[in-house]
């Protein structure tokens, strides 16, 4: 199971990087979103996808799932959510300011 998910993470990262390398601002933002999702999945996989009980230690608990990766993912999701929202607002502002589609272009001679 871990191998399968790791492969999925690889595919998602590839998609994210592909989108990041495009010139369209919206695609780039979606690229960062997909990239961060891929990484959340990686975080989950790295903690081990065990099937076990909730991590409440009783005398009979034999196997339990590590809760820490889930806490980490929750934090990371909130952060990437905020950053994506900020980026979207910023690109909208750039669009308003420049009057053309928000493209990542520098000076002509760059």
């Amino acid at each position: 199971m871990e191998t399968l998910i790791t492969l999925l993470v690889g595919v998602l990262v590839a998609v994210g990087v592909y989108l990041l390398l495009s010139k369209e601002m919206l695609r780039i933002i979606l690229g960062t979103a997909i990239l961060s999702h891929a990484i959340h999945l990686l975080l989950l996989t790295m903690g081990g996808l065990k099937k076990g009980d909730v991590p409440l230690l009783t005398e009979t608990a034999a196997e339990y799932t590590d809760a820490l990766p889930q806490a980490l993912i929750l934090t990371a999701i909130v952060i990437s959510f905020a950053v994506t929202a900020f980026l979207l607002v910023l690109s909208y502002r750039v669009y308003q300011e420049s009057g053309r589609g928000p493209r990542l272009r520098g000076r002509q001679d760059e």
Binding site: M46, G47, F86
Partner: protein, 496 residues
């Protein structure tokens, strides 16, 4: 051990005041006063913290009273206490400088809250003892910095801020990847515990790979070769006070993180990891020197000097002996102070001349003598002319390098001092000597004096830092001892 939350004060006080300031969006004077009060309180707390760490050793707080490897631990050793204090000192003076230079428009759009949130993140990243918590504090300071870099919404700022944000989003992604890999192998996030576990398995190859991943992450934030590409343009976009804060503080967080991870975690394969770090540090210095000489723009020259300094500090860290680390700690603090001072000073030069192009300046010494001499002292301090503060740091770093038999590296460091001196003296020669080229714009003398106050104070502090090195050395030694011997840090965190 008596548990007091002293080490949390420099993090919580700015955070608290930032929240209060949100309620006073339109009252600029209230905002200014409250910001200064908040920073002054944090400064008192951080001095108290240094005194406590000096007498009682490393301070730790485990949040929620979970025992050490399980909960989030905040750790304040001498290194982080000194960094926290320096951060607050610089911020106070840059905030005073902002009063007369940033403009009411920006002040009304959450300029001061953003600064205080950024200080929260920076101090948190310096203090935390948990690698994932460090990621969270990085994000806190980054999001505040996103606001600061785009505040004002000039076209150039908008363009550069998108690049800045994207670079940082990607580096944060790599940060989480590195933490995930580390967790899958080590199974812990507490930094002291990670150090113990890595020592137990004697750092196999995969840990070295993770070490390089961490170097990439912090290298992007701290601007080492070849990952500094985003820095010169992004930093030049926002106004001078923001540039001063970024230049003095943000890259140093990356440098701190590299120093911490490379002295606490990855210390068992120095032949590979630290050699790699050293080569990159030297390349960083060379690339920075080329940039510093190539430009005729005031901002760009000093910005490339940030990159040189990052290289010098990391070169000291890569030596992994007491002299090198002591030098790195000393030079890191020196560089934060002097960069703050220099950015404020060039801000005043730009204000006085109305341009940042050196070719259009000249003859300022006739009208702005104080500015000229203050700048000259700061420039000498940066280049490391004794007894100013840059000298002592570089002496210790080169001493460490000679002890570790890295002769060529030391020669590059010493040669880079000459380039640094040349690049900053060029500003002095072009801006202050010679005939006046253009008519100076008419400026309010009172504003000029208000701007000079923080600049002179910062330069005086750097001079005191250099001249008073004798008294400060015990603190630097304490900081370097913890870095040189991870067991001190581990014992302080995991002893109960």
């Amino acid at each position: 051990m008596n548990m007091i939350n002293l080490l949390l004060f420099p993090i919580i006080i700015p955070f608290f005041f930032a929240m209060i300031l949100m309620f006073f969006k339109e009252q600029v004077v209230v905002q200014r006063v409250l910001t200064l009060i908040g920073l002054a309180l944090s400064l008192v707390a951080s001095f108290w913290l240094i005194a406590t760490v000096k007498t009682e050793g490393i301070q730790t707080v485990t949040l929620g009273s979970w025992p050490a490897p399980f909960g989030i631990t905040m750790v304040s050793d001498m290194f982080s206490a000194l960094l926290v204090t320096t951060t607050i000192i610089i911020t106070i003076f840059v905030v005073i400088y902002s009063f007369s230079s940033i403009g009411v428009e920006r002040e009304r759009f959450f300029y001061y809250p953003a600064i205080l949130f950024m200080i929260t993140g920076i101090n948190g990243a310096f203090t935390t003892g948990d690698i994932f918590n460090m990621f969270v504090f990085f994000e806190v300071l980054l999001i505040a910095s996103y606001l600061l870099i785009v505040l004002g919404g000039e076209k150039r700022q908008l363009r550069e801020s998108i690049k800045y944000i994207l670079v940082n989003v990607i580096s944060s992604a790599i940060f989480v990847i590195a933490v995930a890999y580390l967790y899958s192998i080590i199974g812990t996030l507490n930094m002291a515990d990670i150090s113990v576990k890595i020592a137990e398995i004697n750092q196999p190859g995969i840990i070295s790979v993770i070490a390089i991943l961490f170097l990439i992450v912090f290298g992007i934030k701290g601007a080492i070769f070849p990952l500094y590409f985003w820095l010169p343009n992004s930093y030049a976009a926002p106004p001078i006070p923001i540039l001063a804060l970024f230049g003095a503080l943000l890259t140093k967080v990356g440098v701190y993180a590299i120093t911490r991870t490379y002295t606490l975690f990855f210390v068992h394969d120095i032949g590979f990891t630290h050699q790699f770090l050293m080569v990159l540090a030297l390349l960083t210095i060379i690339a920075g020197c080329i940039g510093a000489l190539a430009y005729f723009d005031l901002k760009q020259i000093i910005i490339y000097n940030i990159i040189i300094a990052v290289g010098v500090i990391l070169f000291g860290v890569a030596q992994m002996n007491t002299s090198g680390l002591e030098g790195a700690v000393y030079y890191l603090l020196h560089d934060m102070l002097i960069k703050g001072a220099l950015f404020v000073l060039i801000g005043i030069i730009i204000y006085a001349t109305g341009t940042s192009n050196l070719r259009e300046m000249g003859g300022l010494i006739k009208t702005h003598a104080t500015l000229g001499w203050t700048y000259l002292i700061a420039a000498f301090g940066l280049a490391g002319i004794p007894p100013l503060s840059g000298f002592i740091g570089k002496v210790l770093i080169t001493k460490g390098a000679f002890e570790a038999d890295h002769v060529i590296g030391s020669i590059i460091i010493l040669a880079s001092s000459l380039v640094v001196l040349l690049s900053v003296i060029r500003i002095f020669i072009y801006a202050f000597w010679g005939p006046q080229k253009n008519e100076l714009p008419v400026r309010d003398q009172r504003t000029y004096r208000q701007m000079m106050f923080p600049a002179i104070m910062l330069v005086l502090i750097t001079v005191a830092y250099g001249v008073g090195a004798e008294w400060l050395m015990p603190y630097m030694t304490d900081a370097a001892n913890v870095l040189a011997d991870p067991s001190i840090y581990i014992n302080a965190v995991l002893k109960e």
